[in-house]
């Protein structure tokens, strides 16, 4: 076999001849443009080295030259499946430094949209994880609800994926009453039909359980040490959810549980996400009950100049902890904005999760991390 991409095709280690193989950047199950340099001994993965940066677009540099309101829509592109949570994270940081009071209705609606976004993201995780394990149909079922949810999002925000819905100081527009009726229908469908279908189609399937239980195991210590967050950390049994641990947007007002796993394997991580869908529905229901009237956008001067200082805002995105470290020097543009992406940290865990298993286990491990390369490479 010829060497490919400059790397030697065959390497020798301990007297065994191992094969080096490029998984990605274009590969059906690397979820974007992730490249894994995999060393194989037959079917057994001896070593994995993630190689990232193919989607790097210098987000952090570009926003240094932009005014604050312009950053919010651009932040959508980082985690394009959790666009609302990105916007919220960056808005929270700016609002805190600029000391802007967000109207209560906007805060509640932000919670609603964060949770709706979480549901939609977890639905897509369900579909793609099924694809990674070779089941195609769950993907289409996931898309049934995803399309519905995106239509809801479109009705509310005008866009399907990259919403630019949050403004500094609130939300772009209020919602008509019919929208809430639609949302309620969607939630009822999710609860009564879609969720049980998801479980029956994939999660409770014997082959799925065989493929995921005990695969890609993480210990809580490993997960914490490597900075894992979100469902990946919770699957190891650590009940760490920023909505509880460091409540933002008044999450302490809502009643919900934090589902945790036991073994830290890919099954638990999928299961945690499935249960989170239910919790998110619970939160949205509470938001709908408590939603106050009033404006949704505070008056903010377009040429916003937050006071000098720095703030680190953390938000529980569908994938984990999104952090925005904002340094302001008091001018109309941020001095520095660092984006802490959960997927970036999670990818460091791939060698620990996928090494020693089969090729198929590696795919399952990467799939269970639910990485979005947009926020890894920024």
């Amino acid at each position: 076999m010829e060497a490919q991409g400059g790397a030697p095709a065959v390497v020798e280690r301990d007297g065994r001849r191992l094969m080096k193989i490029n998984m990605g950047p274009q590969h059906p199950s690397t979820h974007g443009v992730l490249r894994l340099i995999v060393t194989l001994d037959g079917e057994v993965v001896v070593g994995v080295e993630p190689d990232i940066g193919f989607l790097h677009r210098n987000f952090e540099k570009i926003v240094e030259g932009w005014s604050y309101p312009g950053i919010v829509p651009f932040s959508d592109r980082n985690d394009y499946l959790g666009a609302i949570t990105n916007e919220v994270a960056v808005c929270l940081a700016i609002e805190r430094l600029a000391q802007i009071e967000v109207p209560p209705r906007a805060v509640y609606l932000r919670v609603l949209f964060c949770e709706l976004q979480r549901i939609l993201s977890h639905i897509l995780f369900y579909g793609t994880f099924g694809l990674d394990l070779g089941a195609f149909s769950p993907f289409m079922y996931a898309f049934r609800e995803r399309e519905w949810g995106y239509t809801l999002m479109e009705k509310a925000t005008g866009a399907r994926m990259l919403y630019a819905y949050n403004r500094i100081g609130g939300l772009r527009n209020d919602l008509p009453d019919e929208w809430f009726a639609d949302l309620e229908k969607f939630l009822v469908f999710m609860e009564r039909q879609a969720w049980p279908e998801y479980m029956g189609l994939l999660i409770e399937n014997e082959i799925f359980r065989e493929r995921t239980i005990g695969v890609g195991k993480l210990t809580p210590e490993q997960a914490i040490a490597w900075g894992a967050s979100g469902p990946v950390l919770r699957s190891t049994g650590v009940a760490w959810d920023l909505r509880k641990a460091a409540p933002y947007l008044g999450y302490e007002r809502f009643e919900f549980d934090v589902p945790v796993g036991k073994n830290g394997d890919t099954y638990d991580s999928a299961m945690v996400r499935m249960l989170e869908i239910k919790e998110s529905i619970r939160i949205i229901r509470q938001v709908l009950k408590m939603l106050p009237d009033g404006p949704v956008l505070a008056r903010v001067r377009p040429n916003l100049r937050p006071r000098a200082g720095e703030y680190y805002s953390r938000v529980e995105s569908p994938r984990g902890e999104v952090g925005v470290y904002l340094v302001s020097d008091g001018s109309a543009r941020p001095y520095r904005l660092k984006w802490r992406a959960p997927s970036f940290c999670h990818l460091q865990l791939v060698p620990a999760m996928g090494g020693g298993g089969k090729v198929a286990d590696l795919i399952a491990a990467v799939g269970s991390l639910d990485v979005i390369m947009g926020e890894v490479d920024r």
Binding site: M19, P28, E43, D132, L133, G134, K358, A360, I363
Partner: protein
């Protein structure tokens, strides 16, 4: 009639059937999977149900560039699709389609079937090795291990039927099912045969050789255009013939259901085969994929002992009777 002319007619007939069948099956798979996934499948080409979708596909595939990867082993690369297609066509020789409708009533029909299908592996290996692609090679090795492991329970599961009939001739096996289909006394054999045949066919949940989320497309990653189409045709032809063999061995072949004997045998045969094909499609679009070690465990630690036990129990029952 001249025997050469007859042979030529048979070959042309089989080829036409193989192509037409693949035509229908590809359309059916897309349509059925569509309905299983709450979508429509092909709609536009050829009337309301997209009936001519396969024709459009074939035209497209024929028009595509015949891409050869750099460093490919040319002869292997070129020959592989043909080698994979030949056994798929050859097995039609012995299928008893109707009461007196079989191309060649070989006395060793069953062994012929098994031996010819075992040749498929060579084609897959040629494709995997000749492509000069590591994913193809991994796929070929998986296919090799898989076909080899499942050939054994597949053949063993048919032995019970052979013992009940006392013949390897497929036509006689069908004849012996006049009273009761062999699926009743040989239910274990039937189940083992069906599972093993799914594995032989490389279909989900056993499609490891072309697992697209792991190996992109396995041994035919690098193939495109008409060569890829040959693999696809071989695959669908195998799906049909293996289901047809299951029908012949266990489901009474061309024998009609009671009270419906006025419908000709070959219709029954094709109908039953398509039912099994449908089940195969159904399974494919429902289940996730197993892992290679689980596949091996299932083959060697479960199907193999079960099929051996089935042979022993059948022999005991026959001896006692």
């Amino acid at each position: 009639m001249n025997i050469y002319l007859a042979a030529l007619l048979k070959v042309v007939g089989v080829l036409a059937f193989v192509l037409g069948n693949a035509f229908i099956l590809i359309w059916a798979e897309r349509k059925i999977s569509g309905y299983m996934q709450r979508r429509y499948g092909p709609l536009r080409v050829g009337g309301p149900a997209g009936l001519l979708q396969s024709a459009a596909d074939i035209l497209k595939l024929m028009a595509k560039e015949d891409f050869v990867p750099g460093g490919a082993d040319l002869w292997l690369w070129w020959l592989a699709p043909a080698v994979a297609l030949v056994p798929a066509v050859l097995v039609y020789l012995v299928l008893p389609i109707g009461r007196s409708f079989v191309l060649q009533n070989l006395s060793i029909g069953l062994v012929f079937f098994a031996s010819v299908t075992s040749f498929t592996l060579i084609g897959i290996f040629m494709a995997g090795w000749g492509s000069n692609n590591k994913y193809s090679l991994l796929g070929a090795m998986r296919a090799g291990a898989q076909l080899f492991s499942y050939e054994i329970p597949l053949i063993l599961s048919t032995i019970g039927v052979v013992m009940l009939t006392g013949s390897l001739t497929l036509q006689r096996i069908v004849a012996a099912q006049a009273n009761v289909w062999f699926v009743v006394p040989q239910i274990v054999g039937f189940l083992v045969f069906y599972v093993a045949s799914l594995a032989e066919l490389n279909r989900t949940p056993f499609d490891l050789a072309e697992a697209e989320s792991e190996l992109i497309a396995g041994y035919f990653t690098e193939y495109s255009g008409i060569r890829w189409a040959m693999f696809a045709v071989a695959e669908y032809s195998n799906l049909f013939t293996t289901s047809a063999l299951a029908v012949t061995l266990f489901l009474g072949g061309w024998r009609p259901l009671p009270l419906l004997a006025f419908i000709p045998g070959w219709v029954w045969f094709v109908l039953k085969t398509y039912v099994l094909v449908f089940v195969g499609i159904w399974i494919r679009w429902t289940l996730p994929r197993v892992r290679i070690d689980q596949l091996m465990d299932l083959g060697w630690k479960f199907l193999f002992p079960v099929s051996v036990a089935n042979v022993l129990v059948t022999a005991l029952v026959l001896a006692v009777r």
